[in-house]
């Protein structure tokens, strides 16, 4: 399960996906993102840079941040994707 957050400048991640949650199959964080982009190609510009996940895109697995694209994911995990965030 992937939960895309954020209102992207163009396109809006949730708007493009048409839902707040998407069921995706993938054995790792990287595989999930690749599959997500394959399903919603318009997201590529926001999520990827030279084939890698863009700097400052935030990914959590079950609420735990990760910057490891090889981190394993099972069918019971929730992957959340956030655009670059700042504030405080």
């Amino acid at each position: 399960m992937v939960r895309p957050y954020g209102r992207w400048i163009m396109p809006n991640l949730r708007k493009v996906a048409g839902t707040k949650e998407v069921a995706i199959t993938g054995a790792s964080v990287g595989a999930v993102v690749t599959e997500l982009v394959k399903r919603y190609p318009a997201l590529a510009a926001n999520l990827l840079l030279d084939g890698q996940i863009r700097p400052h895109v935030i990914i959590t697995v079950n609420g735990h941040s990760t910057d490891d694209v090889d981190a394993p994911v099972t069918e019971f995990d929730v992957v959340s994707i956030f655009p670059p965030l700042a504030g405080g």
Binding site: Y5, R7, P55, H56, S65, F82, G87, G88
Partner: protein
Amino acid sequence: MNGWNGKILEIDLATLTHKSYPLDMEMAKQFIGGRGLGARLLWDLVGPEVEPLSPENVLIFTNGPLTGTGYQTSNRFSVTTKSPLTGTVLDANSGGYWGMQFKKTGYDVLIVRGKAQKPVWIEVKNGEVAFHDASALWGMRVFAVTEKLGQDNNKRNVLCIGPAGENLSRIAAIMNDRERAAARGGPGAVMGSKNLKAIVVEGSTRPEVMDKERYKFLMYETKKLLAASPLTSQALPEFGTVVLMNIMNNIGALATRNHQQTQFEGAEAISGEELTEKYLVKNQACWACPIGCTRISKTEKVEGEGPEFESTWAFGAQCGIDDLPAIIEVNALCNDLGLDTISAGSTIACAMELSEKGYLDSDLRFGRADQLALAVEAMAYRRDIGAELADGSLRLATKYGHPELSMTSKGLEFPAYDPRGLQGQGLLYATSNRGGCHMRGNMIGLEVLGLPKLIDRFQVQGKSSFVILNQNSNAAIDSLVLCKFTNMGVADEYFARVLSAVTGVEYATGDMIKTGERVWNLERLYNNREGFTAQNDTLPPRLLTEAPTDGPSKGWVSKLEPMLKEYYRTRGWDENGVPTPKKLAELGLAELAEASYR
């Protein structure tokens, strides 16, 4: 004189007199300006015998050598005093336009001493000072006073207090340019205790820049750096600060219902996405700021600045409220009354828990959005239960026999981030010199957002080094006085180059962090002199012993003790948290060493 104006203006309200004298330039080079310079002056002016709300306390308004030069975000000012909420050294800083205009009056520092016999407001116009009767303004709210005294963003700027400051609420803010706030720790109460309603500044002195060509190039480079960073060019202007709501909730670090939980089921309803979608009118920027993170939002009842993330959280998740229009409206009300939104929201949350548990006889209950505005109004005017809420959650909870329900360190209410899921943030809160605060070295960048690199938020060992680096860096930026958001695109040491170009004093690589460390140690010494010890470097028992029962932070409490030991050692302090003479000598504070062992 380059960068600095080289002048201090000192006002004695008891006699309605003023004098001007040269700024000690050695001191200025060592502490730069803003928070650092303010702390150094406070050290000399306000000792432990002074009660914060007595005429002997002072308000020290400072700008910095970059202020008003046009360098990106060089609009801010700082106000330093002894806090009536915490009893610690306090500086609060604010953006907008007032700081820039203050610099243009020809002064670097404005010291306000004494107490006027009746309400006054001060006008500083091109170096000239006039005292005006404020009897007719006393009781007026912030927006009305600001308009009445002729706020004109680029020409004439108004700083004032609202009813909360007049009524000596210990969580009262000093407001400037209508809706900007130097809020934390109650500086508005100090201003109220002096019968000082407002300070209006108007000036035409342009700060001199030593190396104009180098400065112009650095400004150009800074523009490029800020534009290249997705944080300062996209995240902040597009989403504002409230966008943090969903991520903090997602990771289980969003303090909820007075820190009883770490996730809020209503987070989506009060998120930045929701604010942008339904209530955003436009973005706004402070003077010389290319980022423009300020949100102008609108409901059926109000239109104004904000709310920022912390304010939205304080009246939202912390009070168990998911009614965003009510939060926008109470945020505007706090601005108009002159109250710190974080402390106001968190104090109401504390009262809600006290009431629900039967310790306090009040109608306040979690989730009751209809009670927010009533409670805030009562607080500002010290009416009914508001008389007790007005002095913050620690005094309230202590009075009703349960100080452990105050979510504070050193008496200052925490912001949104629950430190059980963010070990570094807990250490930051516990050691912050002005009490529980994220603006002294926010660890969210490292522990959540991956700025500049993601670290394990639950890790304990080694965390103190990151906290110390952030604290020192923030102290330096506060002394420059620049906006911390600039630092998301521009490194600390880059500011040293800008400072050198402007002042002609060469600051080398490492000098910014060293200056920040000097400021931090001086503030620590000040607190030690006030009687604060290692025992005050702590967190409420809830955060140390009660683990969340669900969510991503399940099972975690703040493991403060081992982090503190490591922190003292890494800081070069003794085991009691006192800076050693060796450390003070290293920082050029040797003459203060004796005081640390009094």
